[in-house]
């Protein structure tokens, strides 16, 4: 169960993982996410599904190694298993014929926008894809995204590839140049916030896929709650897709930072063997 077929570090700290999950591969749709536990002591973390192969019975995820849970995932290799893979969760993306669809991806989002881009293209939309990274060596997934896009634009903060700047800068530019009917952003919270702000007031429908903290992913705990248009919503069952102009971004950023201290402590604990209880030392690790 949940055997890993492939785990590759595409660029520093960003990993691609292909997981064997035949039932899941049959049911998953663009926009769905999974809850994954690396091992028995692990956290339950939400990760967007980027792609899947119904025939092979696999699903593909991309993730940024940023803390203990993603570190544990990054230490897994082909042939290993995950403790839990739950899904498909969340509401699928609303795919339809909008006209021109702009998709912006940063960080793990460069991978996560794949299935949405493909479905939007299949629905007959003109596709603009913009990706962002700090530098050229952190960009990935071009070979998949480029053929899907009518207009494929890369941005880097240092200007080492494509346009110097971020997705939000290009969005400003493009929306002056041509009519865009739908903007869709996936990436870190900060990136989704700045991009949503960039399309605000332009009469441009803007969607984001929120990546709140979650436990069960089925609406049971409420940790993922977020204020959207003045109302409390659960990102796991009401989302993860929301109107980027209605989201209370400060609230999202604050709630995401709730465990920063604990996250650092956990990371130190796992990387520093001296802090671990003795009995664990004697256990054999293959």
């Amino acid at each position: 169960m949940n055997r890993i077929i492939e785990r590759t570090e595409l660029v520093p700290n960003v990993h691609k993982m292909v997981i064997e999950a035949p039932l899941l591969a049959k049911k998953v749709l663009p926009g769905h996410f999974l809850i994954i536990m690396a091992d028995e002591e692990g956290e339950r973390i939400p990760i967007s599904v980027s792609d899947w192969d119904e025939k092979a019975g696999t699903v593909t995820i991309f993730f940024l190694e940023a803390g203990v849970s993603t570190m544990k995932l990054a230490l897994k290799n082909a042939g290993d298993s995950l403790h839990a893979v739950v899904g498909p969760l969340g509401r699928p993306a609303k795919i339809g014929k909008y006209g021109t669809v702009l998709l912006g991806g940063g960080c793990y989002g460069i991978g996560a926008i794949t299935s949405i881009a493909r479905a939007m293209k299949a629905a007959g939309n003109k596709i603009i894809i913009i990706t962002e990274a700090r530098s050229k060596y952190l960009l990935y997934n071009q070979e998949v995204l480029r053929p899907l896009a009518d207009n494929y634009i890369e941005t880097t903060s240092d200007g080492s590839s494509g346009i110097k700047g971020k997705v939000q800068d290009v969005v400003q530019y493009i929306t002056y140049q041509e009519k865009v009917d739908l903007a869709y952003f996936i990436g870190c919270t900060f990136m989704m916030m700045t991009c949503s702000n960039a399309t605000r007031g332009k009469n441009l429908r803007t969607l984001v896929a929120l990546n709140s903290l979650m436990l069960d992913g089925t609406g049971m705990c409420g940790v993922c709650r977020v204020t959207v248009g003045g109302q409390t919503k659960f990102a796991c069952v009401d989302g993860p897709e929301f109107d980027g102009h209605q989201v209370d971004w400060l609230g999202v950023l604050q709630r995401k930072s709730m465990y920063l201290q604990e996250e650092m402590l956990a990371y130190q604990y796992h990387s520093c063997r001296a802090l671990r209880p003795k009995e664990e030392e004697s256990e054999q690790h293959g």
Binding site: L24, G42, A84, V86, T218, C221, Q254
Partner: protein
């Protein structure tokens, strides 16, 4: 009256030894430590062995109480455990978490004259004895009848259905959304009230009987009930998914950092073992001043968990008085002993945060009791101008749950009531043929034993509908495990 009952009455109700409140308030070990065989026999001797026992009518699953108590008195503890198991699949769990004072013990003849027989303690004792001495045995199963039943949700209702049907010869598969089976017994009720090894042993027992368990499987998304029946060949489906959507107060500041639903707080602590952080990866904020809003068992579990996680002040904020609190008296009493503070006739109106978005205080208003409302309890009315700020750094909202629509939303043919709970007949049948339901997704937040009672009824209905027979069980030992 002859002399014997007089003699019996002289023995007082035997107390179960407990960890000292000051010690246990700082650890997660179980509070009451269990009867010794001698104490159990002494307590069992108090039972009058009524010819027409009133206690059984107080039990939602009809445990043969006088019979099992007699066996304890005679020293045959294993036989006593098997007697309980004839009608109750989870005796070690029920002995701990059932509200006996309003069920079997509440209807015990002795309760009218003084103190009821400690039926719950005795139930726990014999079940623990059987398990700890490795004498649990697998009862004989009926021959396979070729029918397949899917159980959705591995909580108390689902485990009961599975336990009953597997003995009747069905092939049973339980589908569970979380990564551990047990439902509320695992994610909700804390270790100090129900040790997880007890739940694990009960689940293992069902697995030894042949029940198949599929974890991490959310029915309603990865598989629908219809697909289970039409494609996967299940002849019947039981839905016992619980009531899982936490309610909030809808007051300002409720989305600040440090505000938890009780479900989240307890799930982190119990299911994900956040109290063992960082050995387990899931964190949980350790508040120094914790306020828990609500007056039920879940609120008591949360506030006592907060104490054990190191809170200096752990308070219950409840809008009525202590008499109206729905929590078990035993839990309130245990909490009081451990140092839980009760801010009664008090209702929160706003959570106030600091500049980092963290809770810093909770604004409350004093209440007074007015006329009785629909529930028969006196309605709390706010006292004008009595607002005050309580400094806290962690707030847990434990005011109940709503029906989780994850499964039901994809089944338009399933009849729900106006609040989204599944409608059933008196035997657990839903509006969809061969689909049954029970537990909190039918009754709204209730107790473990009521969910088990509902499971038992549904199992009987399934057996009647599929095989046209009334269910009969025996506990004849077939194999040791």
């Amino acid at each position: 009256m002859d002399e014997a009952p007089q003699e019996k009455k002289r023995v007082p109700r035997q107390k179960m030894p407990e960890q000292h409140p000051m010690v246990r308030a700082r650890n997660f070990n179980e509070v009451p430590t269990g009867y010794s065989p001698e104490t159990a026999q002494l307590e069992a001797g108090r039972c009058l062995q009524c010819k027409k026992p009133t206690c059984i009518s107080g039990c939602p699953v009809g445990v043969k109480i006088p019979e099992f108590i007699k066996l304890i008195k005679e020293g045959d503890f294993v036989a006593a455990a098997r007697k309980v198991k004839e009608t109750n699949a989870l005796p070690a769990v029920c002995g701990r978490v059932c509200p006996q004072e309003i069920q079997c013990e509440g209807t015990c003849v002795l309760s009218k004259k003084g103190e009821a027989v400690a039926i719950g303690h005795l139930e726990r004792f014999c079940a623990d004895f059987e398990r700890k001495t490795h004498q649990v045995c697998l009862p004989a199963k009926s021959a396979p009848n070729g029918k397949k039943v899917a159980v959705v949700g591995a909580g108390p209702a689902g485990l009961t259905v599975a336990g009953d049907l597997i003995l009747l010869g069905y092939q049973v598969t339980i589908f569970e959304a979380l990564h551990k089976p047990g439902g509320v017994l695992i994610y909700g009720i804390p270790e100090f009230r129900l040790p997880k090894e007890t739940v694990e042993a009960e689940v293992k027992y069902l697995q030894s009987l042949g029940v198949e368990l599929r974890l991490n499987t959310v029915i309603g998304t990865i598989r629908s009930v219809k697909e289970l029946m039409e494609e996967d060949g299940y002849d019947a489906v039981f839905i016992g998914v619980g009531a899982g959507l936490p309610q909030f107060m809808k007051m300002p500041g409720e989305n600040l950092c440090g505000v938890y639903s009780a479900n989240e707080y307890l799930t982190r602590a119990n299911l994900l073992k956040a109290y063992l952080f960082p050995r387990y990866d899931t964190p949980l904020a350790r508040g120094r001043n914790v306020a828990v809003v609500g007056g039920g068992n879940v609120a008591m579990d949360s506030v006592r968990t907060a104490l054990r996680l190191g809170a200096d002040n752990a308070s219950i904020i409840y809008r009525r008085s202590i008499d109206e609190m729905p929590a078990r008296r035993e839990e309130i009493h245990h909490g009081e002993q451990e140092g839980v503070q009760f801010k009664l006739l008090t209702n929160p109106v706003e959570v106030i945060g600091d500049e980092r978005g963290w809770v810093k205080s909770i604004k409350c208003i004093k209440m007074e009791l007015g006329e009785p409302d629909a529930s028969g309890r006196r309605r709390p009315v706010p006292v004008r101008g009595s607002e005050f700020d309580l400094p806290v750094d962690l707030v847990v909202i434990a005011i109940g749950t709503d029906a989780n629509p994850l499964l039901t939303a994809n089944m338009p043919e399933l009849k729900l009531n106006q609040w989204g709970y599944i409608e059933i007949d008196e035997n657990g049948r839903t509006s969809v043929p061969l689909v049954y339901a029970g537990g909190d997704i039918v009754t709204c937040s209730a107790t473990v034993i009521l969910a088990m009672g509902a499971g038992r009824k549904a199992a009987n209905a399934i057996h009647e509908d599929l095989m046209g027979k009334k269910a009969e069980f025996s506990q004849t030992c077939a194999a040791k495990i």
